[in-house]
């Protein structure tokens, strides 16, 4: 199915949950935080958080800023 990852279209398997996505993106264990459709998805709930068609997924990290 299709989702949007950080604003870009992306095709993923219908069976994937957030944990799978993070894994596939090689972001496991990295300092990130995730939003789906403007709602925060706590890390603790990644596995089990099923993704839906057209979900807007945002994966963010820290950068230098003032």
């Amino acid at each position: 199915m299709q989702i949007y990852l950080n604003g870009e279209e992306m095709q993923i398997l219908d069976t994937m949950d957030m944990a799978d996505l993070i894994e596939q993106l090689n972001l496991k264990g990295q300092r990130i935080a995730v939003e789906v459709n403007e709602e925060l998805v706590p890390r603790s709930t990644f596995s089990g958080h099923t993704l839906r068609e057209q979900d807007h997924v945002e994966i963010i990290h820290a950068v230098g800023g003032g």
Partner: protein, 264 residues
């Protein structure tokens, strides 16, 4: 500072700090310069921003959180770039998740791109929600004493009026307002944005501010590391001058050498 150094720390949301210089981590040439300048500044609190992680492009450049590790620095994630309460709130929630529940945030909700002045209405709205959600909110605001008081009453842990537009380096445009905000406040008041050089930072402290938050003044100096050192000393100098109680200004002169004993 002589003897009373140890006693002159200040606290934000129950955390004690000795450095009254807070710094941003943006606009540096590279991570190395970032680290060197911030080390030199002696800052204990550093702001960071949250942005989309650049997936795929496996950039080897170290992450800001590794360059400035949490054991050494207190992070102050900001909401830079947010022009409404909603995005600012989303940003704070993401930051807290990112930092394992760290709930100290710098709230800024901007009004327009030209001035980067705050939208105080949206700021109040966001502050109310965030405080309800348990965030410790250090809030960026304009230099209006009334608004500063409202934000304090709402429960913000620090009020941070601007000295001048973010990144302008114009120094403190309205000293009276800053002084009035300080006199009215029961929470720490920090000047945020607009400082351009060391004397600007000293002036802010002489007005009684508890601290100064800056980024561009250091990062955009020709020698950021040296400017970081200048700012560190200027903040201390201004603080000590405030505590020491300056001489009253007089319009006319008063001799420094004795008038008696003149032999001519």
């Amino acid at each position: 500072m002589p003897n009373n150094t140890q006693t002159d720390c200040f606290s934000i949301a129950g955390r004690e700090f000795t450095s009254r210089l807070l710094v941003g981590t943006g606009k540096y040439k590279d991570m190395e310069e970032t680290r060197a300048a911030i080390d030199e500044s002696g800052a204990e609190i550093v702001t960071i921003a949250v942005r989309r992680s650049n997936i795929g492009q496996n950039s080897n450049e170290p992450n800001i959180l590794n360059v400035l590790p949490p054991q050494e620095y207190t992070y102050l994630p900001n909401t830079a770039g947010c022009y409404d309460a909603k995005t600012a709130i989303r940003t704070c929630r993401l930051a807290r998740e990112l930092l394992d529940g760290h709930n100290l945030v710098k709230l800024e909700v901007l009004g327009d791109e030209k001035t980067l002045f705050p939208d105080v209405i949206q700021t109040l709205e966001a502050a109310e929600v965030l405080i309800k959600e348990g965030f410790d909110v250090m809030v960026y605001t304009n230099d209006d004493p009334i608004m500063a008081k409202r934000l304090e009453e709402l429960g913000c842990v620090a009020v941070m009026p601007l000295a001048a537009p973010i990144g302008s380096g114009l120094g403190i445009r309205n000293r009276l307002n800053i002084r009035t905000i300080v006199e009215n406040a029961k929470v720490p008041v920090l000047v945020d944005a607009g400082v351009g050089t060391a004397s600007d930072a000293a002036v802010a402290m002489e007005l009684g501010c508890d601290g100064v938050l800056m980024n561009t003044a250091i990062a955009a100096a020709q020698d950021p590391v040296l400017m970081a050192s200048a700012m560190k000393k200027a903040i201390q100098a201004g603080r000590e001058a405030y505590l020491a109680g300056r001489m009253p200004a007089k319009r006319f002169a008063s001799a420094s050498s004795p008038l008696d004993g003149l032999f001519f």
